[in-house]
Amino acid sequence: MSELAAAPPREIRQPFRPRARLLQLLGDELIGSPRLAVFELVKNAYDADATEVTVRLDLASQDDPSITVTDDGEGMTLERLCAVWLVPGDDHRRKQRENSQRSPRHHRLPLGEKGLGRFAVHKLGNRISLTTRAHDSDECVVDINWSELIHKPYLDEAPVRIRVRPAEVFTEGKTGTRIQVRELRPPPWSRGEVRRLCNQITSICSPFKEPAEFRATLDVPGHEIWIEDLPDFEAILDRAIWKFEFWLEDGKFDWTYEFRRIPGFNIEGRPVSKDGDKLKLPSSSRSDRVNGRVVADAATTRGIGPVLGEFHVYDRDRAVLQRLGDTRLLTSYLDEYGGIRVYRDGIRVYNYGEQGDDWLGLDLRRVNIPTRRISRNIILGAVHLSLQSSGELVEKTNREGFVENDACGRLQQIVLGALGALEVERQFDKERIRKLTSRPSDPTAVRVERPIRELRRELDRRGVSETFEPYVKKIEQDYMNMQETLLAAGMSGLNLAVVFHEVERGVRVLHRTIVDGRDMEGAASQAQQLVGVLDGFSTLLRRDQRKRHRVQELAARAREFNLLRLRYHKVHLACPLLGGDGDFDATFALGLVLGALNNLIDNALYWLRVRWPELSPDGETSERRLYIGASEDFAEGPAIVVADNGPGLEGDVAEHLVRPFFTRKPDGMGLGLYYANLAMELSGGQLVFPQRDEIDISAEFDGAVVAMIFKRRA
């Protein structure tokens, strides 16, 4: 028996007693930087229905510099101050938003939802003085000394003094809130920091599309010169060579594209626009395509609402920049502010588009195809969302974008898909510029040795050689093998220089990422992607011997390779060749030509899904049809014809289609048809894109038609 007498059961009630330092934690831990803290205060002004908010950074007094944020919003009554402002985590804003309760003056939905943003003020300084006045009320003043407050053991032992007085600040019937912060914390507000703050404050509202009646400005008395020469955003936008705007709603994709004439270049501008297009979605690591679809539909924007976007894209090629003047201003602006921002109801969602944030992975995807892909340092873009309809996009408390949920993944896909549409059009104009500015390139003159050497030196310097060297070695070996093999085969006329140049540029992009040193994980992915580009050519390099083969065998192998995909996507394959119908023999390297045929099938599988996104209601059948058959319709020789009932070749001519890195697929590398063309040429044949009436084929295959023509037997 225990010596302790059994205590009678009892029950006590004890509320949580937060330490006073909890408020400090909220400010310090949740908000990443003093600049973001200012942003939080400006957002509060927006929610207070203000028209104007002024941030005054008074650094003139060396002893006691201060930051003052003043708005002309609705202000707070004493009751509101006590019931809301002094209650961490108060949810009245969130409720207003959920109930679609708009502000009386500007009809805004509140941006705040967690009731924590104001505690960021602690990040700025030690002493806070809040003055606020609501309509028909006295002025209230709250003074907070954070050091004193957080040294109290518990929050309930740290009362805040509120003074209520006749109006002194907001006189003559004015309303609003003023927060003055003194005893500022580091960092010291240097010229650079102030310029960045200025840009941050002015970018709070969309410079692309300002919300009605809301302006934020920064004053730095005594240091006006620090910010007066900041580049004018409008002027920067005017210097973009490409402009792209889009609107996506319920799967309907409207867009306009404009290539602007470059001064001094004899190239006409080119506007293109399309209403009711299909937005092609790239795959995403965060969110797979909705229902495996490759084009957007109403489900894609569920919880996101309609998406409006605009991209201003620049060209940093020296030949183009020279003609635009003041190159340094433009390039340094793009280096610092390039990227794609997100705005909801016209107010910026941080930290999308900030330096160091690559939420769309633009830089990574560029390494594959540097010429075609748009990187962050050549774009100023904005995506506009409606607060009311984007309920599934929830901002993280630390202001580092949206919570990474399915809707966030879909938003990424949408923006990348729209960017892909821009890139498709842009490649035509890039090609026109290239023809004017570059000299004809000899593939033997393209050398990767130097970029590789520089890359290795940098890797050594940073002590990461061991991680990267296998990739560098593989890239180097594959590149050299490819150059040697293809040049030896007399393939110099097939845009080889473009491919070699692209790999060389890819190595340089990787080099820059390593030099930058901020994202070594991204650099490793870039190295892997570059290996991937060269991998695509691996079969070219070890092609088997050319000998006579039955094309029936070729078709059977290709079907085998693609069977899982044909089956899964419910594609009806009509392949008379498999039964020997029209079979012929020809001399070719089987592995090489099989690769070509596989690429044609791969293309067809994608485009069939673009035109026919839906399966039958039971998911068992589809309208997707693919034909692989023999043809004697060509004078040059017997052919294998691959046809489908997809959307067709969209008017693209053969010259474009077989050019390396040309593609209309958002994830495509643009090497499939280039490879197929190369493989046919290496086999003595050719790849052609006949009109449907040139060949004898059933009318049901009304999409793309591609023919692999083999050399006729002598």
Binding site: P470, L564, G668, Y675
Partner: protein, 355 residues
């Protein structure tokens, strides 16, 4: 003979393929090599437990950029291999990050066969220096650690058990249980000529009553033990014919048995019984029989303690009838007569005696 292979490796790069397979073989794990050209179907290997596969198997490669055609190739290869039991795919690749995508792809699209219970990656970048393996030790350690990861992820379930069983020699060696002499006699990565020499050496190295071969055994070998003889009796060709055929599959088959014989002769013999039991348990599992039928030898595939091991070695159990596993041994060597008993018991199990 590929049908019997528990471990296969597929690659379109012959050097990468040889580097991996040789590394495994030198650690006692024979690996059936498939140099994939895309020009013929891969044949069925229903007994396979571990498949090493390159992701980019050529034929158009990555030109499409989204890897789907590569995934499709691998999927079709698996359908042709027709694995009958649980198996794992280890990608042997430059694109390790694609493993989870491949798993999703195969999960949705494979038909008519079991899906790999997991897919993990062995990065070529970590192990290849040009066309050479940098360190075989490091490579097999990676494979062993991936296997252990599978165990952790699946709660050391039966999937893990069969994979670990297939890779058992590798673990033995890594755990310092293997005998270096055994490894020296393995024929991994050897040329046909070397395999022939080693086989001849093995067949002629008789050492006592345990390795009597029945008269009439049609090879030049005179000392191959009976157990091996029984196994080979199922084959159409004699070892000598296999040896001289130069056929890759025949040589692979022989190589496996060379390894088995080398291990059984030189390494410590308790493992022979354990391996036999293990392979039989695996067969039972594959055939849908309950493992609960075997009461005694709850073999934990090398993971048991000395005490546990001794306990079941000295205990009677339905599988071995009236002798304990210990009684199969004479010192460190296996008694052939006892192996016959074991074989008959195992046959009885196959015939459903315990079901």
């Amino acid at each position: 003979m590929a049908a019997a292979a528990p471990i296969i490796a597929i690659d379109d790069e012959p050097n990468d393929l040889a580097g991996l397979a040789n590394g495994l073989s030198r650690y006692g794990v024979p690996c059936y090599k498939i140099h994939f050209t895309g020009l013929a179907d891969v044949q069925a290997c229903p007994e396979v437990r571990v498949i090493f596969a390159d992701l980019n198997l050529g034929a158009g490669g990555l030109a499409s950029g989204d890897f789907k055609s590569n995934f499709s190739s691998i999927g079709r290869i698996l359908e042709n291999i027709q694995p009958r039991g649980p198996y794992v795919v280890f990608l042997w690749t430059w694109h390790a990050a694609r493993a989870s995508e491949l798993k999703t792809f195969l999960g949705e699209r494979l038909e008519g066969i079991a899906k790999p219970f997991d897919i993990r990656s062995v990065e070529k970048a970590d192990h290849l220096d040009g066309t050479e393996i940098r360190s075989e030790q490091r490579l097999v350690e990676k494979i062993a650690s991936l296997t252990e990861e599978l165990g952790e992820a699946g709660g050391y379930d039966d999937n893990y058990r069969v994979v670990r069983a297939a890779l058992a020699p590798l673990f033995r060696d890594l755990e310092g249980e293997g005998n270096p002499a055994a490894r020296d006699r393995l024929s991994g990565g050897a040329s046909p000529e070397e395999i022939m020499l080693r086989l001849r050496g093995l067949f002629s190295a008789g050492d006592g009553p345990y390795e009597e071969v029945p008269p009439g055994y049609p090879t030049e070998a005179t000392t191959l033990d009976e157990w091996l003889n029984v196994e080979l009796a199922d084959t159409v060709r004699t070892p000598k014919q296999m040896l001289e055929s130069g056929d890759e599959e025949d040589l692979f088959f022989l190589e496996r048995f060379v390894n088995a014989v080398a291990t059984s002769r030189v390494a410590s013999h308790p493992y022979v019984v354990r391996d036999i039991v293990r392979s039989r348990i695996e067969a039972m599992f594959r055939n849908g029989m309950s493992l609960a039928l075997i009461e005694g030898p709850r073999v934990r595939l090398g993971g048991e303690s000395e005490e546990e091991y001794d306990r079941w070695m000295n205990a009677l159990n339905p599988m071995f009838g009236d002798i304990t596993p210990r009684q199969f041994f004479d010192g460190s060597k296996v008694k052939v007569e006892r192996l016959r008993v074991l074989a008959s018991r195992l046959d009885a199990i196959d015939d459903g005696a315990f079901s």
